[in-house]
């Protein structure tokens, strides 16, 4: 079942009309090409119009769009010969984080990312992309593998949050995330992270400490989901759209705060309308950002990653 967001509805209506005209052309041999071309121009104009005026809440919905490409879609489209590796060697294998060896053009890399599910069964198996401690520990194990063999690390971020349940608490979800933050800062190989959907708080950051952080145009990155923020602020989760505004969670906000280095443009109408084109943009960006990082000495690489994070934040000096 295709999901159509409210603001996508006018587009969907035009799509239906275009489809109908095409059917008439095919079935009855009546030439409707002029009308089709006109409608397609309307559709294009409407898409541009709608996407020029997206609110932060619209983007939140786009970032969570059920048809949006997920990590494995990007891995398939961007890399060659991906071999998925499983397990944290301590407890188990977490379906919410996938990772393994792959080739980016002619270069071997380690790829890691949060993975949501496409259908109900897969969503449950992957826990809606909410990783447990074993997921973060698997990610770290793969990063250390990359470090040992001098391969750069690429991570794809797409999670509502880390798993908040009793099991995760029992196995030290906080420790697992905290350790990743510390270890990623010290890693001796380049790391590039791409926020492709939901950058959900500490759960996202747990695989997103990197030399370069890229973010897709309609992805979000936030300290708390807008619904949770609205519940705390106004005791009303329905005011999430206002909270989304207040939280400054869009890619351009993240760029302005220095959290993100580049915003990656998505195909008109969002990545889900043309996943391959979206993947091509990501691939080009990776190919642009990785080589200069690979030329740096290990100490320079680590020092500049350290400085990048050390300098984040906006505070002030009290005057009195």
């Amino acid at each position: 079942m295709r999901t159509i967001l409210d603001f996508e509805k006018p587009i969907a209506e035009l799509d239906a009309n275009i489809e109908a005209l095409k059917r008439i052309t095919a079935e009855q041999g009546i030439d409707k090409s002029d009308e089709i071309a006109a409608l397609e121009r309307d559709r294009e104009r409407l898409l541009r119009e709608i996407f020029r005026n997206l609110t932060p809440w619209d983007r939140t919905l786009l970032a969570r769009h059920p048809q949006r490409p997920y990590t494995l879609d990007y891995i398939r489209a961007i890399f060659d010969d991906f071999i998925e590796l499983h397990g944290d060697r301590q407890f188990g294998d977490d379906g919410a984080i996938v990772g393994g060896m792959a080739w980016l053009n002619e270069k071997p890399v380690v790829v890691i990312g949060q993975q949501k599910g496409r259908d109900l069964k897969e969503r449950q198996r992957r826990n809606f992309g909410m990783a447990k401690p074993e997921g973060y520990r698997k990610a770290l194990r793969l990063m250390h593998l990359a470090e040992k063999f001098g391969r750069p690390v690429i991570t794809f971020v797409d999670t509502p949050a880390a798993d908040p349940g009793v099991e995760s608490e029992s196995r030290g979800i906080s420790e697992a995330i905290a350790r990743n933050l510390r270890e990623m800062i010290m890693l001796r190989v380049p790391i590039v992270s791409v926020v492709i959907g939901e950058g959900g708080s500490g759960g996202a950051l747990g695989i997103a400490v990197a030399d370069r952080v890229l973010m897709q145009e309609h992805a979000i990155y936030s300290v708390i989901p807008p619904e949770g923020c609205a519940a705390i602020l106004w005791r009303d989760p329905k005011r999430a759209p206002e909270a989304a505004e207040a939280l400054k969670l869009t890619a351009h906000d993240a760029l302005r705060f220095g959290v993100v280095d580049e915003v990656l443009e998505e195909p008109l109408g969002g990545a889900h309308r043309d996943p391959l084109a979206a993947a091509q943009t990501v691939k080009e960006a990776l190919l642009r950002h990785l080589p200069p990082l690979q030329k740096l000495s290990v100490s320079k690489l680590r020092e500049s990653r350290y400085e990048r994070y050390r300098n984040l934040g906006m505070w002030q000096i009290a005057t009195e």
């Binding site: 029992s170 905290a178 350790r179 270890e183 010290m186 505070w315």
Partner: protein, 277 residues
Amino acid sequence: MQRGWFARRSRIEGLALDEMNDAWVKCNGCQQILFARDFERNLKVCPRCGHHHRLSARERIELLADPDTFVERDAEVVSADPLGFPEYADKLSKGRANSGLPEAMVSGTCTLSGIPIVLAVADFAFMGGSMGSAVGEKVARAMEYALEQRLPIVICSCSGGARMQEGLLSLMQMAKTCAVAAKLHEAGVPYISVLTDPTMAGVLASYASVGDVVVAEPGALIGFAGQRVAQQAQVVKPPPNFQTAEFQLEHGMVDIVVPRKELKHTLHRILRFFTGG
């Protein structure tokens, strides 16, 4: 059952002691009425049930630092309002009024039973001890000073987590504080993390969890997700001690749970291991 729930709830919401009048206080744990003087003398631990009530940053510094040795650093680092977030400016003023502090973290140097250390202490009365850019900066600077002077650092956490009102910038303080913690780790500068009630979410999932030794106070609420979120997500029923210091000890996330009256002595023994010999 119901009673336990209430006790827990009042603790989460940060209700301090219900002051009957100056001479009497009611314990948040057993609800008994106590002599304020006895209660204070017992370091705000209930003499009847052992419930550890929250300390302010100043009180905890007084508990741990040798008399007149604490020298504050970086007091001028305070929060801005980078997002222009609704009601944040008001909350900051209230935080200052409630805590009598310019920010939710106090840091400096002192001696602890004669051992020179860097000490940083969070204060719950300032916006739930939450970590925004200024708190992150103070933690980072305290760690950097420890690194520079090669002094052991003790950080006492007491926080609901990252400060929502600074959005993504608060989230990044998790990475920032862990970045400096990484330097301490590599340089072999001892870092002792003390988890007090409560230590949650973005603070627990960053610098508070990467100490060389992690100490907790009895009964402290320590966990990742807020209770409401955790309970909504439950497939497995949480045990009665879920997200307490004892639960975290049992699950291997805390090295040692230390009653408040032994805290200074225990920290001294730990510090001696690192600095003595």
